[in-house]
């Protein structure tokens, strides 16, 4: 079962992500970001490259946005496609994540949608019965 679904937004793309835990919510949100942007032509993203990133935030919602902003920058600025993320530290104000992935390769992937930014607009992150749920709008 997919851990996210798209919701309608006139100009942009909205996504509702769920996860059993906070960590899972973040990992699923990262997956949604790359699913919306890229389409694989052959096989999964390899784990050729590794990176560790640290992001800060005022609260869990701010952390989530800053985490996704960082992944988006790594893609746009360094062509790094995140294949998997392993959250190694998660406090209320800071997140440390180990990423594996590879450099973007036009032979392997195509860009479906250019995401200009991860916005704060209409952002919600909440605890629900089954775990966590977030609504995020990507500017496209």
């Amino acid at each position: 079962m997919s851990h996210y679904k798209l919701f309608d937004h006139t100009a942009d793309i909205g996504v509702e992500v769920t996860g059993r835990t906070r960590k899972e919510l973040f990992v699923n949100a990262a997956e949604a970001l790359f699913d919306i942007m890229l389409e694989s032509k052959s096989g999964d993203v390899s784990a050729k490259k590794r990176k560790t990133i640290t992001v800060e935030g005022a609260d869990v919602a701010d952390l989530l946005i800053n985490f996704l902003r960082e992944l988006l920058y790594l893609f746009n600025g360094e062509k790094f496609v995140t294949g998997s993320c392993d959250i190694i530290e998660f406090s209320n104000k800071e997140l440390r994540t180990r990423l594996t992935g590879e450099l973007f390769n036009r032979k392997k992937q195509t860009i479906k949608t250019e995401i200009k930014a991860v916005t704060y607009s209409g952002l919600t992150v909440e605890k629900v019965k089954t775990g966590w749920k977030a609504r995020i709008i990507f500017d496209v």
């Binding site: 798209l6 479906k112 930014a117």
Partner: protein, 480 residues
């Protein structure tokens, strides 16, 4: 419409009454038909949200192409007092100085009809488009700094176009006060390879033909006449602008928390204009704006070259002249009469075009008798309108008008609706040749996804904000 009740003021304006934490009321420019469309999205709520921001003057405004954006609505206009007011990167948008430029030629449809396919192909080959496209202009760090400081003038200096082009570019193609030191290393890196590129999404380059003239005097001043071939370019500051906005939004989310500015939506994050962060953003935003002007100047030059080479005509025969270049995602420090006093304000135009009337000192000398050209591109394949700014714009809308048709359909809905159809073929049947890098873009941008441009423009015309001058029909379009 999230329970917001609008009161009809007249045929083209609706009042959004001041309630709760709103500091001023809102006004939405819409006729009955557009008002009905407002019910389907959250844009009225966003107009109300903007009205909560400190230092907002008179009204939180929305133009008739208003639609649901992030933070500010798209089509939103709001002005803030320099004393106690704020600046918001979200009120400018990610694509800083996204805008349009219109060029006319000496050619008629008959002159290019037989070569239209070659011409469009050549444009598609020479104008880099598509997601993450990189340009032929590679910038050293030193040159990039100059682009950010000098804007279109830099492009002219290195051989893209002529000094005359700057006369009919908004602000002469550069906002003063640009400081590259305020732009992050990340933004600079993203900007290095993207100068001279169109990008993707709703950005385009169109060949159009002037179909109808509504105002002979203004059309003459702008050099427009029926049957003439023109070119419209729509693009902005590419990754550099997106990154500047993104960097400063994150800073301002912090600033708002520190200064206690209450935000109905975090995307409205802002800083006081007199604060260090506010000033730094303005200096960085100016860099983004100047990059966009250099970008459009370079694209225009490449277009001129392609026309001359493909049609084997001399520059004099093609005579591609810049009518005007407008930005429609920007914040500007401008003076307006507020209650009898001339006040300096920071005017945010998020998907809105400046529309200054005749006599205004910011209008190029050659147009000063008629007013500033207002360029309104429509949806893919429909064409564009040229309007001229009217006195009521400076009285009611801080000198602003609409910027396009405005979406009514989400991208996913558009893709669903276009399933099993060939949008390119449908457009070709309507006489529009389209070349695009991706089928997805064509589906997302299909004509039905947008409001009727004629309705949007008519509201501005009837409300006395900007008068119709000419209508142009597209005949060819290239997209990313």
């Amino acid at each position: 419409m999230s329970g917001i009740i609008l009161e009809k003021l007249d045929d083209n304006r609706w009042l959004l009454p001041q309630t709760g934490g709103m500091r001023v009321p809102g006004i939405i420019y819409a006729n009955e038909k557009i008002y009905q469309l407002l019910k389907g999205d959250e844009s009225a709520k966003q107009v109300a949200n903007v009205a909560h921001l400190p230092g907002i003057v008179n009204f939180s405004l929305a133009m008739p192409d208003v639609h649901w954006g992030y933070g500010f609505p798209i089509g939103g206009v709001a002005a803030f007092d320099l004393d106690g007011g704020i600046i918001s990167p979200g009120g400018v948008g990610y694509d800083i100085n996204c805008g349009c430029r219109l060029m006319t030629t000496n050619l008629t449809l008959g002159d290019i009809k037989a070569r239209l396919s070659d011409l469009t192909t050549a444009l598609y080959q020479h104008i880099p488009s598509g997601v993450g496209s990189t340009g032929s202009v590679k910038l050293s760090g030193k040159d990039q700094k100059k682009v950010l400081e000098e804007g279109a003038a830099w492009a002219v200096k290195v051989g893209f176009g002529s000094a005359e082009d700057l006369e009919t570019t908004e602000d002469g193609g550069a906002i003063m006060g640009a400081d590259p030191e305020q732009v992050s290393a990340r933004a600079l890196e993203r900007g290095k390879e993207q100068l001279g590129t169109l990008g993707s999404g709703n950005h385009f380059l169109e060949i159009e033909v002037v179909q109808e003239i509504f105002d002979e005097e203004a059309a003459k001043a702008f050099g427009l006449h029926k049957g003439q071939i023109a070119v419209m370019i729509h693009t902005g500051s590419r990754g550099l602008g997106y990154q500047i906005c993104d960097d400063y939004l994150a800073l301002m989310v912090k600033h708002a928390q520190e200064t206690g500015i209450v935000l109905p939506d975090r995307q409205l994050a802002c800083a006081y204009l007199e604060s260090g962060r506010g000033k730094n953003y303005l200096a960085a935003m100016a860099c983004g704006a100047n990059y966009a002007w250099a970008n459009r100047q370079i694209l225009m030059h490449k277009t001129r070259e392609v026309f001359e080479k493909t049609l084997r005509l001399s520059p004099r025969d093609v005579n591609m002249r810049l009518v005007y270049d407008v930005c429609h995602n920007i914040a500007k420090i401008e003076s307006f009469n507020i209650g009898g006093v001339l006040k300096k304000l920071c005017v945010h135009r998020k998907g809105a075009t400046r529309a200054f009337p005749a006599g205004h000192e910011a209008v190029p000398e050659r147009y000063r008798k008629v007013g500033q050209p207002v360029l309104i591109p429509g949806d893919m394949g429909t064409g564009s309108y040229v309007l001229v700014g009217q006195p009521k714009a400076t009285e009611e809308t801080f000198g602003s008008a609409c910027h396009g048709a405005g979406r009514v359909m989400s991208r996913s809905q558009a893709i669903k609706n276009s399933r099993g159809r060939s949008i390119a073929r449908e457009l070709s049947e309507k006489g529009v040749l389209v070349m695009a890098g991706s089928k997805g873009t064509l589906s997302e941008e299909m004509p039905e996804a947008y409001k009727n441009l004629q309705d949007v423009v008519q509201v501005m015309h009837e409300a006395g904000i900007a008068r119709k001058v000419a209508k142009l029909k597209s005949i060819a379009c290239i997209k990313g």
